[in-house]
C-alpha cells in the first residue's frame, strides 16, 4: 500500500472536513425561544383551530393516533386499532405506562371522556384497556381524524387542562407567553430541550427584530418575505404549499347570472401574477382546495386566467351590481391581494369594491388541517362554511369527485396555496417541518455554537 496516496487524499479531505457541519448526535439541555403570531387565550385543545396549532398543542398533548409524513396513521397513545366491518365501530388499544403531567396514569375511561368532550355527537366509551368509538355512518378515516389537535387527549380538572405530552406548561400568560418544561417521564422519551419559551401574538415584523437580536431562535416568516429573509443570510425553512388562500362567497348563487358572474371572476384572476409579484413566489397557484402534492389531481381544475373568455362571457350576462370584497384589514397580504383581484375583475367587466365589514365575497386563509386528504377536505369545507362533502369511498377518484362537487357549488374560488416559512437559528438542530408546516419540538436540540 502506498502511503503517498493516503496523504494526498488526506490533504483535500481534511480541508473539506473542517468546513463541514458534523453529523453530531443530539445534545440534551437548553431553552428554545420561539415566536408565534397566534395568540391563543386558552390551552384547551378544543380551541385548536388556528394555524400552527399542531405544534403548539403537540407540546403538551398527545392524540391517540398521529400521522406520518405521508399522511398515514401511526400509533401514538393508541398502540393498535381495528375497525369492525362497516367501519362504524372502532377499537383503539391504549398504550401502557402513559401518565399525565401530574403523574396520573392514563386510562381508557379518561381517554374516552376527553374524546366525548371534543366530539359530542360521537358515542365513545371504554372497555378494559381499549377506547371504543361508534359513529353514525362509516368512518374509514377515523384514525386520521383522531390525529387532529382538537382530538388531543386531555384531563380537565378544576379549570386545569393537563396532557400526556412531552412538555408541561410551567408558566402561562394567556395570549402572550408560554413556558413549557420537558417531562423526564414522557413515554416517548424525554425531549432533548430542557424547556421551550413561546412568545405569542407577535407580528412578523416584531418576530424578525427579536430573531436578529438573538432573542428568538425560531420565528415565523410571512410567505412573501421568505425569499428575502433567506437572501439576507437567515436560515429559512419552508413547508410545501399548504395554506389555502381563496375567495369565499357568503351564499350559494341565487341566479344563473350570479353563477355566470362567479365563473367570470374565477377566469379573470391571474393567480400566477399574484404568486410571483405579490407573494414573491411564497406559494403556488391553486385550482383545487387541496394542494396538488397531496392529491395528485389538482391540475385537472382550471387555474389559468383567461381574460378574453371572461370578457366574452361577461358580454352575455345582464348588468350586475357591485360585490363587496371582504378581507382581513390586519393582514397586509390580504389587502394587496384584494386590490389586485379588484383590478383583475374590472378588466373582465365586473365591479368589486373593498369592504372590511359585511361582504358578498371574502378572502380567506385556511390551513390544510391534516396530511390525510379526506380529513383535510372535510375540515376545509367545514372551515369555509360550505355544506359538508360526502366522500363515497377511499379512492383518489372518490376524493376528486367530492372536491369537484364543492367547487361546482361555486361557493369558493381557490387562489393560491401558501407555504409556511420559518427562520431558524443555526444553533437549532434537528428542526424539520413536515410538509404541512408542523414541527416536532421534542426532537429539536441546541448546539453549543453555530456550525
Amino acid at each position: 500500500m502506498k502511503h503517498r496516496g493516503f496523504r494526498l487524499l488526506a490533504a483535500g479531505s481534511l480541508l473539506l472536513a473542517i468546513v463541514a457541519a458534523a453529523a453530531t448526535r443530539p445534545h440534551y439541555g437548553g431553552t428554545l425561544h420561539v415566536c408565534l403570531r397566534a395568540a391563543p387565550t386558552s390551552l384547551d385543545p378544543n380551541q385548536a383551530d388556528f394555524a400552527g396549532s399542531h405544534t403548539l398543542f403537540g407540546l403538551v398533548f398527545d392524540t391517540l393516533v398521529k400521522l406520518d409524513s405521508q399522511g398515514r396513521p401511526r400509533p401514538s397513545l393508541a398502540s393498535d386499532w381495528r375497525a369492525e366491518p362497516g367501519n362504524q365501530r372502532w377499537h383503539f388499544s391504549l398504550r401502557r405506562g402513559v401518565t399525565f403531567s401530574d403523574g396520573t396514569p392514563l386510562t381508557a375511561d379518561m381517554a374516552a371522556t376527553s374524546l366525548r368532550v371534543a366530539n359530542p355527537t360521537w358515542k365513545v366509551f371504554s372497555m378494559e384497556e381499549a377506547v371504543i368509538i361508534e359513529r353514525d355512518s362509516p368512518a374509514a378515516d377515523l384514525p386520521a381524524e383522531l390525529a387532529l389537535p382538537r382530538n388531543s387527549i386531555a384531563k380537565r380538572e378544576s379549570g386545569k387542562v393537563l396532557g400526556t405530552g412531552p412538555f408541561v406548561v410551567t408558566e402561562w400568560d394567556p395570549g402572550k407567553k408560554i413556558l413549557a418544561t420537558a417531562r423526564e417521564d414522557y413515554w416517548g422519551g424525554r425531549p432533548f430541550l430542557d424547556s421551550i419559551e413561546l412568545e405569542l401574538g407577535k407580528s412578523f415584523r416584531e418576530q424578525i427584530v427579536l430573531f436578529d437580536l438573538g432573542k428568538a431562535q425560531v420565528i415565523e416568516i410571512a410567505p412573501e418575505q421568505a425569499h428575502r429573509a433567506a437572501t439576507e443570510g437567515r436560515r429559512v425553512e419552508s413547508s410545501s404549499p399548504i395554506e389555502l388562500l381563496a375567495l369565499v362567497f357568503s351564499r350559494d348563487p341565487h341566479s344563473a347570472a350570479d353563477s355566470k358572474q362567479r365563473e367570470i371572476l374565477g377566469l379573470s384572476i391571474d393567480r400566477r401574477l399574484l404568486n410571483s409579484v405579490v407573494l414573491q413566489n411564497g406559494g403556488e397557484p391553486a385550482g383545487g382546495l387541496l394542494p396538488g402534492w397531496m392529491t395528485g389531481y389538482e391540475f385537472l381544475f382550471p387555474m389559468e386566467a383567461n381574460l378574453m373568455r371572461a370578457q366574452q362571457e361577461r358580454a352575455e350576462v345582464p348588468e350586475t351590481g357591485v360585490w363587496n370584497l371582504g378581507f382581513d384589514g390586519d393582514d397586509p397580504i390580504e389587502r394587496v391581494v384584494a386590490e389586485r383581484i379588484v383590478l383583475n375583475a374590472r378588466d373582465a367587466g365586473l365591479r368589486l369594491q373593498l369592504a372590511t365589514g359585511a361582504a358578498d365575497v371574502r378572502l380567506a386563509r385556511l390551513p390544510v388541517a391534516s396530511l390525510d386528504a379526506q380529513v383535510a377536505l372535510a375540515e376545509l369545507t367545514a372551515a369555509l362554511g360550505v355544506p359538508p362533502t360526502k366522500i363515497n369511498g377511499g379512492s383518489v377518484e372518490d376524493l376528486y369527485m367530492a372536491e369537484s362537487g364543492v367547487l361546482k357549488s361555486q361557493r369558493v374560488i381557490p387562489l393560491l396555496h401558501l407555504r409556511t416559512a420559518w427562520a431558524v437559528s443555526k444553533t437549532v438542530r434537528n428542526w424539520s417541518a413536515a410538509r404541512d408546516g408542523a414541527w416536532r419540538p421534542p426532537d429539536v436540540w441546541l448546539a453549543a455554537e453555530q456550525p
Partner: protein
C-alpha cells in the same frame, strides 16, 4: 385491518433450523453480496397499466383514439416511455388503438401524477362534444435503490441489508450462519432467514423494559459463542438462548456495554436516560479507566498497544493509548465512529460520520497515522441522517443505520473496506 403499518408476515419456524451451522468466511461474503441484490426489485407497472387501460377502454369503447402521456411526477423519461408503451399494449389488447388526433374518435390525455403515498395516473377522455370524463388509478411509489461507491486508495462497499419504518438500532450477521440476520429495534429483536431469495422473519422476540426509552434511542447487538447474541439497550440487557426457537431474557441492568472484543476488549458504562456513554471504562485502557463522556469509540490495535479513538459529547475527539488522553478538535467528524479491520494500509481504520449539508450524512475511512487523521477513502453518501454506526462483533465490517430523508424509513447497511491497490 391491522390498524397501523403492516407488520412483517410471521412465517412458521423452519423445524430444526440450524442457527449455528458452520460456514466459511467466503460463504459469508458471497451471501452478503447476493442477498442485498435480491432485495432490490425492478418496478412493475403492469398492474396499474392494465387497470388504467380497462378504465379508458370502458370510456372510449373499442376503436381508434389519440393518446397523449404527460409526466407530472418524478418518473424519469425512460420510465414514462415504459409506462406509455405498456399502456398502449394493454389498450391494444382491449381493442383500443392509438392513432393521430385527426382520425381519432376520441382523445385521451393521460397524466402520470403522484400524491403523498402513490403514483396517481389520470386519464381525461374526450369523446365528441360530450363533457370529458376522468378516470384514475393509483400505484405504489418505489424507493431508490442503494448505491455503492468506490474510490482509491481504499474503497468502502455499502450493502443494504434491511429497511424498516421503525428505528433500527443494530443489525448482526452471524459469520457462522450467513443465512441468518438479527435486527434490533426498540421493542423487539427480529430473527430473519433467507427464503426464496428474500429475508423472511422467523421469530420476533419482545424486549421487556420498565422505563420509557430515551429519545435518540441506541442499542447494540453482540454475537456470542455460547449463545446467539446479547442486546444492550439503555438500562436494559437482554440475552438470547442458544438453540432455535430462541428465547430472550431481558433485565434492568447497568452493566457496561462492550465497545470491542478481542484483541482489545473494553467496556463502557452507558447513561441510561441519555444517548451517550458516561466516560467510565471497564476494565480500562491499561491504567486509564475514564475519559470524557462520549458517543462512540473505535479501537485501532497497534504492535504494542491499542489506540482508542472516542467521539466525545463536547465535539472533540479523544485519543487514549493507556498513558495519555489527547483531545483533538476540528476534525469535522460527527458523533459516530467505529473501528474496522481491513488489512489495508495500517491494518485498521476509523469510519467516521460527517455532514456537508442539512439533509445527508456520509461516512469516510480515516487512518490514524502519527495521531493525525488521514483520509483513506472517498466518502460514502447516505440519503439521510446516520442514527447508528457500530463495528460488528469481529470488527471486519461496520453496520450503519440511516434514516432516509425522503422516505423516513430506516436503512441498515453493511460497510466493508477493500484495498484498491
Amino acid at each position: 385491518m391491522p390498524g397501523h403499518h403492516p407488520k412483517p408476515v410471521y412465517n412458521a419456524r423452519i423445524q430444526d433450523m440450524p442457527l449455528l451451522r458452520a460456514y466459511s468466511f467466503r460463504a459469508v461474503c458471497v451471501w452478503l453480496l447476493i442477498v442485498p441484490a435480491m432485495l432490490v426489485s425492478a418496478t412493475d407497472w403492469r398492474t396499474p397499466e392494465a387497470q388504467l387501460a380497462r378504465k379508458i377502454a370502458a370510456g372510449t369503447g373499442p376503436g381508434a383514439v389519440a393518446l397523449t402521456v404527460t409526466n407530472r411526477s418524478f418518473l424519469s423519461s425512460s420510465e414514462t416511455d415504459e409506462v406509455r408503451r405498456g399502456l398502449l399494449t394493454e389498450l391494444a389488447s382491449l381493442g383500443v388503438h392509438s392513432i393521430g388526433e385527426d382520425q381519432a374518435a376520441a382523445t385521451v390525455q393521460v397524466s402520470l401524477s403522484e400524491n403523498l403515498q402513490n403514483y396517481v395516473w389520470i386519464a381525461e377522455i374526450h369523446v365528441g362534444n360530450n363533457e370529458p370524463s376522468v378516470v384514475m388509478v393509483t400505484g405504489p411509489r418505489t424507493e431508490p435503490a442503494a448505491e455503492e461507491h468506490s474510490t482509491a486508495p481504499l474503497t468502502i462497499h455499502k450493502a443494504l441489508l434491511w429497511t424498516d419504518e421503525n428505528r433500527i438500532l443494530d443489525v448482526a450477521l452471524p459469520t457462522s450462519s450467513p443465512s441468518i440476520m438479527i435486527v434490533l429495534e426498540a421493542d423487539s429483536v427480529g430473527l430473519y432467514a433467507v427464503q426464496n431469495g428474500r429475508w423472511q422473519v422467523q421469530q420476533t422476540l419482545a424486549i421487556a423494559h420498565a422505563n420509557p426509552w430515551p429519545r435518540d434511542l441506541r442499542g447494540r447487538l453482540i454475537l456470542k459463542k455460547d449463545h446467539l447474541f446479547d442486546a444492550y439497550l439503555p438500562g436494559v440487557m437482554c440475552q438470547s438462548t442458544a438453540v432455535a426457537p430462541l428465547a430472550l431474557h431481558c433485565r434492568a441492568s447497568d452493566d457496561p456495554w462492550p465497545l470491542a472484543a478481542d484483541p482489545s476488549p473494553l467496556n463502557a458504562f452507558y447513561a441510561p436516560a441519555r444517548n451517550f456513554f458516561t466516560g467510565v471504562l471497564s476494565p480500562g485502557i491499561q491504567k486509564q479507566t475514564a475519559t470524557a463522556p462520549f458517543y462512540s469509540a473505535a479501537a485501532l490495535p497497534r504492535d504494542k498497544y491499542t489506540l482508542w479513538v472516542f467521539g466525545a459529547t463536547d465535539g472533540q475527539i479523544h485519543l487514549l493509548d493507556g498513558m495519555t488522553d489527547q483531545a483533538v478538535a476540528k476534525l469535522g467528524w460527527g458523533s459516530d465512529l467505529a473501528g474496522v479491520r481491513s488489512g489495508c494500509g495500517l491494518g485498521w481504520q476509523v469510519l467516521a460520520a460527517s455532514r456537508d449539508n442539512d439533509a445527508s450524512d456520509k461516512v469516510q475511512a480515516f487512518e490514524m497515522a502519527d495521531r493525525q487523521a488521514v483520509a483513506a477513502s472517498a466518502p460514502v453518501e447516505f440519503g439521510g441522517s446516520i442514527t447508528a454506526l457500530w463495528a460488528d462483533s469481529d470488527s471486519t465490517s461496520v453496520i450503519a443505520v440511516a434514516q432516509n430523508s425522503e422516505t423516513g424509513r430506516y436503512e441498515a447497511s453493511r460497510l466493508s473496506i477493500t484495498c484498491s491497490r
